[in-house]
């Protein structure tokens, strides 16, 4: 298919604003008469506030709110699931803190310095409770209860043994499947907890309006759910709350839920009757959200000819102190597992456990990188046991075209209609030199090379042909201006990845518009129709689907109007971009001169009182098509230091039609670097003595790779597929871009050293220890420097 706008390399519309600092983020919003807020956080991981004295802060003139001043109401900060699947255990401010950093009170003053001084004057008496930091410990009998009663939708439920929620699934006869297996492999995996480290820490600016309403500027991946939640907590009519859409400095899932700064700033603004700004520091941000730690037990059977039979998976998730989306995540983890390879029988037990840690939330991949790491490790092991090529083994078993795909847990399923897995694996293996890879563990010498691969995918949206437990639709407004441009008005938030740029290209393509004639305009929850959230790699597929839907309607209206003006039948009209005139031109094919520019048409329509050409509509994606990726990684392991360096990376992807090639490549590069970091570096370890993360929130001790640490060669390619349900054949990319990275890296380390890891991250300390265990104390004398 040939496109005019789609697939072209163009400069982003927001690029100048971003590189010059003109772009407005929530932290750039300053209002006249605005107060600055600070939050008092628990210095203990588990405690009860016995007494709180805020009198000195109030004497200083600060506005103070504590748990006594906020609605005594449990809520869930994430509203993506249907109410029957939403567990509520949060309060805006608490008198029973359950992790170090949990907000207890907040102050607002004329400057941030004064707010800080007021904050430090607050006196709190705590009764200390025993904390628990490990999921497996926490679920044992007799451990301290972190939550007592919480709510599921509008029902109160009891929490036993710190089990937040559970999900069990079973399909087929697993016993029989294992019986006919020639090999059954069983492994236990433990992932790390990670911090999103999005560039922009969480911030909220709240302006109380004279009618009792609120205007809110905040970091969010969803303006509509933010306003619904604030309405729910504070009992303010939803129509009186307006949440502004702004540029967002990244999210990676950490603002799917409404961040706690928003309701805290609302509470302060309502009390002060003045605008309030609450901006978290990086240190506070690291105490606001983290990823889930998962402990998997995975058992898989296979026959001698390399056909998988059935599998059992146990998933114990450490969710920290509160639920954000633990229950839906138990479902998606099952889905990621069963949609990688065909299993005739499955059993899945998922349990989410409370611990006294920072609450966990979605983090790029939503459990998929972790599940893929476990499954792809086992696939590598099985291939070796079977004496099969790991790629051939995968091709024999993968879930592909015409198979059923679980896009977002057991209630979101659709049939796969586009799939480029084979081509990805074929081309990727050629580019990395798969045939010449070393045999695992056979190398000697200090420096050892290894090549590993893994494949994966992610859903594009949580769409499906039927309703499910996940809300997923978008909406858009498109209107034609008198200068021949169109205003695109959407509530969909661009996290920074350029999603709205893709929408502009989709609209330009459909309407034959020069790309510059698509305006992405300011929007808020009052002036847009509902969009669920920018998550689940749905921005291009579902959001772009909504943009295309209104563009088609606008096109129909353009032809209808032009048919009267040009005196031609609507169905004989065509539209094309005229770059010279900078306009879309509507014309009758084969009749030169019978044409009009879109600007002229819109102007005539105004003069003749024919109205504005515009459309508004919601769009529900009919499917959840997977986008597929394959990773091939070559590493160099220094067996004397345990340091692993990436030498060469090849990443292939099937995303359907590529809309923004530069940005798509960027997603893959970023996916690798994030995966690399999660594989070998990042871990929010807890120091049980202080009950807090060991790095205490200081980024200097939570290291991530910089440009200096990435390989010189990252080769990316896109295979050609066309997704029939996507806008111009497009699917998502953001999460699949990373999902197999960890698995490919750990498989490469195995290939180089013969050492397998079932615990992340694979730090030099751990790797060196394993190598020394394996090979004895003294290594590689032949490589030692010959000094004479």
């Amino acid at each position: 298919m040939s496109f005019y706008a789609i697939g072209k390399r163009t400069a982003r519309k927001d690029s100048v604003a971003k590189v010059t600092g003109w772009e407005k983020y929530a932290s750039d919003i300053y209002l006249p008469n605005m107060l600055h807020a600070r939050v008092l956080k628990s210095p203990f991981p588990h405690a009860i506030v016995k007494k709180i004295d805020t009198s000195r802060a109030e004497e200083m003139g600060a506005i103070v709110v504590t748990f006594k001043d906020v609605p005594d109401k449990l809520f869930c900060p994430r509203l993506v699931s249907t109410p029957d699947a939403t567990y509520k255990d949060w309060k805006v401010l608490t008198d029973k803190p359950k992790f170090v950093g949990e907000p207890i009170a907040a102050v607002a003053a004329e400057t941030e310095e004064l707010a800080q001084i007021a904050l430090e004057s607050i006196n709190v008496e705590y009764e200390l409770l025993e904390p628990v930091f490990d999921a497996l410990e926490s679920m044992k009998e007799g451990k301290p209860r972190i939550h007592d009663k919480i709510m599921l939708n509008d029902k109160i439920i009891d929490i036993e043994n710190n089990v937040a929620c559970r999900l069990e699934l079973q399909e087929g006869d697993l016993e029989e499947a294992f019986k006919r297996s020639d090999i059954i492999i069983e492994r236990e995996f433990r992932t790390s907890r990670g911090y999103h480290n999005q560039l922009e820490p969480k911030v909220a600016v709240v302006n109380p309006e004279p009618d009792g309403g609120l205007t809110i500027w905040c970091t969010t991946q969803t303006i509509h759910n933010t306003r619904l939640l604030i309405s729910e907590i504070f009992n303010i009519p939803v129509s009186k709350i307006n949440v502004k859409k702004l540029a967002l400095g990244g999210g990676f899932g950490s603002s799917i839920q409404t961040n706690i700064v928003v309701p805290i700033a609302v509470a302060l603004a309502l009390k002060a009757r003045r605008p309030v700004r609450l901006a978290y520091t990086k240190e506070e941000d690291m105490h606001e959200h983290s990823s889930y730690q998962m402990i998997f037990r995975l058992k898989i059977g296979v026959t001698r000819d390399g056909k998988l039979t059935g599998g059992f998976m146990e998933n114990i998730m450490d969710i920290g102190a509160h639920q954000i989306q633990a229950y839906p995540l138990l479902g998606t983890c099952a889905g990621w597992w069963v949609s990688l390879y065909k299993l005739q029988a499955i059993k899945y037990v998922g349990v989410a456990i409370y611990t006294n840690k920072i609450p966990s939330c979605a983090y790029r991949g939503y459990g998929n990188p972790q599940v893929t790491w476990a499954v792809e490790t086992i696939m590598d092991e099985l291939a070796e046991m079977l004496g099969m090529d790991p790629i051939e083994f995968r091709l024999k078993n993968y879930v592909g075209e015409r198979d059923l795909f679980w896009g977002q847990g057991p209630t979101v399923k659709s049939i796969i209609k586009s799939c480029g897995v084979e081509e990805i694996l074929k081309k990727g293996s050629e580019l990395i030199g798969w045939k010449n890879r070393p045999k695992p563990g056979e190398q000697k010498g200090r420096f050892r090379r290894g090549i590993g691969m893994a494949r994966g995918y992610h859903t594009s949206s949580a769409g499906a042909p039927i309703p499910s437990q996940v809300i997923d639709y978008s909406g858009a407004i498109l209107k034609v201006n008198e200068d021949g441009t169109v205003d695109y008005i959407t509530g969909l938030v661009d996290q920074g990845g350029g999603t709205l740029e893709a929408h502009a290209k989709i609209i330009a393509e459909e309407l034959g518009l020069p790309l510059k004639n698509v305006n992405i305009v300011a929007a808020d929850s009052q002036t847009t129709i509902y969009d669920v959230c920018t998550h689940a790699s749905r921005g291009v597929y579902a959001g772009g689907g909504a943009a295309l839907n209104v563009a088609r309607q606008v096109k129909e209206k353009i032809f209808k109007l032009a048919s009267t003006i040009l005196n031609a039948y609507p169905h004989t009209l065509r539209i094309r971009p005229d770059e010279e005139r900078g306009q879309a031109v509507i014309y009758v094919e084969g009749l030169p001169g019978k044409e009009i520019t879109l600007g002229e048409l819109a102007t005539l329509a105004r003069i003749k009182n024919l109205g504005t050409i515009a459309a508004v509509d919601s769009f529900r994606p009919p499917a959840c098509p997977p986008h597929f990726t394959g990773y091939f990684v070559e590493v160099l392991v220094d067996t004397e230091t345990g340091i692993v360096k990436p030498l060469k990376v090849v990443i292939g992807a099937d995303v359907g039609t590529v809309i923004n090639p530069d940005l798509a490549e960027g997603q893959l590069h970023g996916g690798f670097i994030m995966g690399w970091s999660r594989a070998i570096l990042e871990d929010l370890k807890y120091n049980e003595e202080i009950g807090d993360i060991e790095c205490r929130g200081f980024i200097i001790d939570y290291k991530m790779p910089t440009a200096a640490d990435i390989p010189e060669e990252i080769k990316t390619f896109f295979v050609e597929t066309y997704e029939p349900t996507g806008p111009f054949g497009a699917k998502g990319l953001g999460e699949g871009a990373q999902n197999p990275a960890i698995a490919a890296i750990s498989n490469a380390i195995y290939n180089a050293t013969g050492v397998r890891f079932y615990e992340l991250p694979i730090t030099p300390e751990k790797l060196l220890e394993k190598l020394k265990e394996k090979e004895g104390r003294k290594l590689a004398v032949e490589d030692a420097v010959k000094l004479t």
Binding site: R38, L40, K41, S42, P43, F44, V100, G101, E112, E113, Q116, L119, E120, A279, T281, K282, E283, E284, H287, E640, T641, G642, I643, L681, E689, I690, G691, D692, E694, C695, R696, G697, F698, I700, D701, K703, M704, P705, T706, A708, D709, P764, E765, L768, E769, K772, V781, A784, V785, L787, T788
Partner: protein, 301 residues
């Protein structure tokens, strides 16, 4: 133990009240230090001090900034070595040709400190006065036998770098003293030096760092100096290893013994960056790698 820092740290501001003094002469700075002594902190680049204040690790009542004092920003050759002033930025040292050619280990160490932005602000003198056990500039200065010049109103004092560090964040400086200069004597002719470091990512504090200096006479070691950082409360020389290798041939056997001595002499701990065990293990391989690299430099010249 309670994590009170979650409420005290505010990196948006410097959440501490203090007086900022910006004298224009050294004499005035020294007078201020005499007056405020223990309650004052000297600031050159501020890349450590301001961070420590934001994190509430230090809460000085007075800051005496050296920024407006002229005449203490220099790198000059004199008296058989090079003098580096208190206001001299790390970036200037890294770009200086004398340093690059004659003090390879110092050049390599300075280049490995943080980012260009930080090196444009930070100073060598500040780096040693901060007295981090992991200070990257410390091991090279130790192997070069650098001399720290400290001044107070009463006059100047020369301190051997080996005597300068007293513990994490602690030096032998008196409350009213300001370091005005570091003097680094030229290394012996026909010697070469190397700095290595192992860290979590490229831009990071060291898990372990090392500097060595070697002079060979045919295959026999004539001079050998070795210093490591982040493996003890202060950066340290390893005299035992130095004495052992001096006047001995460089061979596998001797190298093994040197590695062993080093791993016995250091006192690493487990912290957020690494473990005691790992630091001991990689110290050995760093000795080997640093020697290898230094010999290569000697062979080249």
């Amino acid at each position: 133990m309670r994590a009170d820092y979650v409420n005290l740290v505010n990196t948006h501001t410097v959440p501490v009240r203090f007086m900022y003094h910006s004298p224009e002469t050294l004499e005035e700075a020294l007078r201020l230090m005499r007056e405020y002594g223990g309650e004052a902190r000297v600031m050159a680049g501020g890349t450590d001090l301001i961070v420590d204040m934001k994190l509430r690790r230090k809460e000085p009542k007075h800051i005496v900034s050296l920024n407006k004092i002229r005449g203490i920003e220099y790198i000059v050759e004199e008296d058989g070595g090079v003098r580096i002033g208190a206001n001299t930025k790390l970036r200037s040292i890294e770009k200086n040709s004398i340093v690059r050619e004659r003090f390879e280990a110092l050049y390599e160490a300075v280049r490995s400190i943080a980012s260009v932005q930080v090196r444009n602000m930070g100073t060598l003198v500040g780096n040693i006065c901060n007295a981090s056990p992991a200070a990257d500039s410390a091991p090279p200065l130790l192997v070069y036998d650098a001399v720290v010049k400290a001044r107070s109103i009463d006059g100047e004092r020369k301190i051997k770098i080996r005597d300068f560090f007293k513990g994490p964040g602690k030096t032998c400086l008196k409350d009213d003293e300001i370091v005005t200069e570091v003097f680094i004597p030229y290394p012996p002719g026909d010697s070469a030096s190397t700095f290595f470091k192992i860290s979590r990512v490229s831009m990071d504090l060291a898990k372990v760092n090392i500097a060595i200096l070697v002079k060979l006479s045919s295959n026999v070691v004539e001079d050998f100096r070795i210093a490591l950082g982040a493996v003890a409360p202060t950066p340290l020389r390893i005299p035992k290893a130095e004495e052992y290798l001096r006047h001995k041939p460089l061979n596998e056997e001797n190298l093994n013994i040197v590695e062993k001595i080093v791993s016995e002499e250091i006192k690493p701990i487990t912290d957020v960056r690494s473990t005691e065990w790992y630091r001991r293990e990689v110290s050995k391989i760093l000795v080997r790698d640093a020697l290898n690299s230094t010999i290569k430099k000697l062979v080249r010249t």
